[in-house]
Symmetry: C3
Subunit: 504 residues, 3 copies
């Protein structure tokens, strides 16, 4: 029936079309079952209203963002407003915020015709995710037993951004192959799983993971890869013409790469201990990232004819070092230790793009659009291992008694824990992250296979035309037919008619 319709349309189109390629394009790109005019607005409204209700019931300001801060200061004998946590965290928060929205958003604009979807849907799911994350993480970490409310401050905002980062990493694996509705569903479950996983790893297991090598990157990457595996598209080659970049789209992607690269020290230090903790985490990350760049360039060059560099590697593998020092950045990893971690990750990640990704696609049936396995999964696992080793190797002689306690938070129920034991628990946390990522992703993938989400057909993946009103290209149409996409249709007709009058 549908096929019949299509044939009819094809004939109709044959009859009228003047521009074959244009016509063909129209024909193939028609959003056949991709109409999200009902589902997308509905999901957005329902979830935003739910957020308002949840925030009304649960979310309040904490004592540092509340007007009672003045009394709080007096009680605590805090000498100055500058000791409000806001001034310790806010600059790092803004850097992280840039990484989430510009960094991840533009990093994914490399595809020639999916830049709107990359930056636009990234914007959408991040904006939803941070709200849901404030609630989910709040229940586990910021619930005030006195009145059962979640008290939020700048640190919660940073954690919400972190939580969303996991979902954006997952988006990288399915980029161009899912609908915005699927992305919102994916984010809803992703944030939920993240909050639980994070609670288990950081609170129950009491592993340390300042930069989230395990909690954010490993979980996020495997979550996305598992979903991509469940949603495998055998005929994706039909969209292959669009699964490539153009000169300027690669430049837009470099904007994302550089903002991620530059602000990663803030990412890894944003929620570490005041004072030396933040200071050290920033230094370690800065160094790891620097050495990653050189090994990435080296491997990219050595594996290509004439030693030419591949933009895909420069855009992605140069960031692997930041992922891999996420856990250990706040420990005494030492400056050269950071360089070594970055050194290895640059090599491994670039290898991944050259050999592992194609292998995964052909043999494991995992289509990983942005290669998150090379940028987040492998470096994340390495980061977890490095963290475990560094923790196990810690000692009072190097850290100092107080330093050791502060760095690993050996207090309260954990005051008897030794570095060796901590190392083991770090490794345990690693496993939890992987299990949650793969398990959760597989289940969510099943849900996303339901035929109700309006995802694109195999022959128009990676195409903004499916979900976006695209501007006409200047070349493709004569000026007279061009319309002003900033005015209403009526308005156009009017002025166009005037215009033709003008001409005659």
């Amino acid at each position: 029936m549908c096929a019949y319709l299509r044939r009819a349309e094809l004939q109709a189109w044959r009859g009228v079309s003047h521009d074959t390629t244009q016509g063909l394009k129209d024909y193939f790109c028609r959003p056949k079952n991709t109409n999200i005019r009902v589902s997308l607005p509905m999901v957005c409204f329902v979830w935003q209203i739910a957020m308002i209700i949840l925030f009304g019931v649960f979310i309040r300001y904490n004592e540092e963002s509340d007007t009672h801060w003045i009394e709080h200061r007096r009680e605590e004998n805090i000498t100055s407003d500058i000791e409000n946590d806001f001034y310790f965290r806010y600059p790092s928060f803004q850097d992280v915020h840039v990484m989430i929205f510009v960094g991840f958003g533009f990093l994914m604009t490399f595809l020639k015709k999916y830049s709107f979807g990359a930056v636009g849907f990234n914007f959408l799911i991040a904006a939803f995710g941070i709200q849901w994350a404030l609630v989910m993480q709040g229940w586990f970490h910021s619930l005030d037993p006195a009145d059962g409310k979640i008290k939020i401050g700048v640190e919660n905002l940073i954690n919400a951004d972190f939580c969303v980062a996991g979902c954006l990493i997952a988006y990288g694996a399915v980029l161009g192959k899912v609908s915005p509705v699927q992305l919102l569903v994916m984010t809803l479950f992703g944030v939920t799983l993240f909050a639980v996983e994070e609670y288990i790893i950081l609170t129950l297991i009491h592993a340390r993971d300042a930069g989230g090598s395990m909690v954010i990157h490993t979980f996020g990457a495997y979550y996305g890869l598992a979903i991509s595996w469940v949603l495998y598209r055998p005929n994706l080659y039909k969209s292959q013409r669009l699964q490539a970049s153009v000169y300027h789209s690669d430049l837009f992607a470099m904007i994302g790469t550089l903002f991620l690269w530059m602000f990663w020290p803030s990412f890894n230090s944003a929620i570490t201990d005041h004072g030396d903790g933040q200071h050290r985490a920033a230094i370690n990350t800065y160094l790891a990232l620097a050495s990653t760049v050189l090994t990435t360039v080296a491997i990219s060059s050595v594996f290509q004819k004439g030693g030419k560099l591949d933009m895909v590697h420069i855009q992605n593998s140069t960031l692997a070092g930041g992922v891999a020092v996420g856990t250990a950045a706040e420990f005494l990893l030492t400056p050269y230790g950071s360089l070594i971690v970055g050194f290895c990750c640059g090599i491994l990640s670039t290898f991944g793009y050259i050999y592992i990704s194609p292998f995964m696609e052909k043999r494991l049936k995992i289509q990983d659009t942005c290669g998150v396995h090379n940028l987040h999964a492998m470096p994340g696992v390495i980061g977890g291992i490095v963290g475990a080793i560094t923790a196990a190797a810690a000692s009072e002689s190097t850290y100092g008694r107080e330093g050791l306690i502060n760095t690993f938070d050996f207090e309260g129920a954990f005051k008897d824990r030794t570095p060796n034991i901590q190392g083991g628990h770090q490794a345990a946390g690693m496993c939890v992250a992987i299990v949650f990522g793969i398990g959760g992703g597989a289940i969510v993938g099943m849900i996303l296979r339901l035929p109700i989400w309006g995802d694109p057909e195999d022959n128009n993946c990676f195409d903004d035309e499916v979900y976006w009103e695209l501007p006409e290209d200047e070349e493709s149409i004569p000026p007279i037919l061009e319309y002003n996409n900033h005015m209403s249709d009526k308005n156009q007709e009017m002025s166009e008619s005037n215009f033709s009058v003008e001409q005659s």
Copy 2:
């Protein structure tokens, strides 16, 4: 006479031209009465010299940026340099600075052939405006009675950026239809009006407006709309071919959108009270913006065929929430209150782009290029109202005695003012902003109608060719004719001749 000349030229051109379209383009785009070779440099020099004189007479460093800070610290018993206002404000200042130059600049690059004008003229008028703002605002707010000098510090820089923001909003309404000289005149008067209006609202009426919903956005938007109304162009449809975007220009605009969106919490918290004030303002803005994104996407999708999203909405309406919490961000708006404000503004602003803008253009004869009415005017007014309500609803029970006094600055002459009364004064401030915007804009619009400013004709609006030396497009000309726009003409001739020699 002019007509005659043109005919002659037309014939001349007919005779020689080999490339008709190119020739036609040259002909229509020739800056006929748009030569600003005298006026632009003159205005720039005169005003910059005037600034130098005014700064020489009036502007000095304040005690926190002066070398006497050390004595000042001792007198005030300030324990550490970290309590210098620089460390409370500078990170927020830099974020605001990015919003002014990259945020506003790139947000306006969406037009296919006016990106240079968008980012370039934004740069020019902002750079002039901040200097004039330092003087104007200084007279009202930072004049030291002791020596009659204006003492400036980082807070003055932030306020200068704020002041300029009003003029850049106004620029959005007339984008592509005015000359840089007109923009400089518009900025001169805009900053002056802003400083007076701000003084009346914040000092005389003693309304609070941390994020400038009233002072910046409402004033700026109505100022621009009134100017655009006075400068109405009935034949603007002649430039319609250029009043549209292309794929990559929309991506450049997203750079502006995202930097505005991300840094808006800094914008609204930049000059609020140290400690909880800045902390709370950032949180409220962060939340309002997040919920705006979802409702913007929902409305954009529901009103288009197939539920496709329109980039215009994503680029602009997603920011409405930040505008609307500008006034109330420092109050106890509560987290869910912020979400509700963002929720409503996303809907309203997107509706504006779909229905109100076309209506304004056709019926009210207001041509609003960037739709500032939807992004700044309406949300700004809502922000003023929300601020008035929130202020009126304040009480000692919720704010705490000291908190109430600090938040609303109920001190000195205003120590007897109650929240209810404050609410009324907030509303009064709102009206002052609107009156100054519309009234000032109408008068300045009259001045800008004088035929001396070199503004473009109706058929070459939105075209960079009028005021910029544009690079040749690779396609349009053979390599041999291409010239190096980084060398002098002589140099070219030389090397080109060499080149042809080479060829023969």
Copy 3:
């Protein structure tokens, strides 16, 4: 022989090619002797491994980034973690970091076909340079005599970024004419020379240079110009077709310009004295940059037909003011003094682009791709002179006794130095910077002339094709031939064959 080969190839190509222009392009752009498949990876690996060894032997955390910070705090009676230098410097550091990687990187993307090289190689050499700079500068400034280790903190990271800035300025002079290997060699020597020159100027001569007008800009620019002079290419006109911009490449360059412009106040204040020093340096830079914009626009307009603006001037000359207040920014330059400096530099720098650069190219045989002589060399020298005058004019009456001592660091061996004497030493520092730049550049230029570095031929300079795998342009080839640059070749063949089957 080579000529013979080429003729043979030319005939071969004539035989098979269907697309003449494409074929010609292929022919001319073939990386003949530009294969860096061995040299680039080798250099990257050798140097990165050397860095790891050097860091292992020398680099440690300082007492503010070490876990012993807690004891340190107690000993020093520091009341709060917020007084850790991290919170004084980190926001400025991140701004500087953005200038180095996004600012310099994108500023150089203006060329139509060299944007990958601009942003990519900038990334590579900066990432290498900061590591080498930490070691070199550490030996001179941060060596702990107690244990012979270099103790690093956030201030070292800032200084490393500063050091690299010098080499990136030099890159601007040779942009598009050298290979990445040459750039790495250039950076190795550049950082070394920088560290020595900096030690002589700041420590031995005890000149002050907070923003590096002399140490960074003057040295860097003359270093690059000297290299470019030694590497003069008489037949560069053969690449002239590529030494121009296109519309969007100019917009990408504006991203670089604006981030440099906005964050320059952080650059000049990043390592100045806590408190008033940083505060004042930021204000002076902010003002100088603002006035530069107006005079740049004025001169750009007055020298062009119809008063049209040239993007090259807006992209570059608007930054000259920031360079020129680098030295004096921390002194009592006064706000109007800053405006005057910016005023003059905008004029001079734009003049430079219009007249001096072509002159240098034709008469002095110095090919300066980005015009660093106009943006860094001249303004840098002016900055040195302004610094000397401002220092000489200092007095206790204006600075206050303590202020004078703090600002000029008249302590220890220099406690008897007077402002006049300081002025002389500032001038001496200026000369050292110029000598090191020209002398060092000439020598390094000789080394770079060796025929082993794989630099491009005169006819394919400014072309990314030489060192980068470029994406195919959609227009140039039919979809069927387009390949997916995110998959392995095998994979392609498979799916392409499938695809053709699909077609038949």
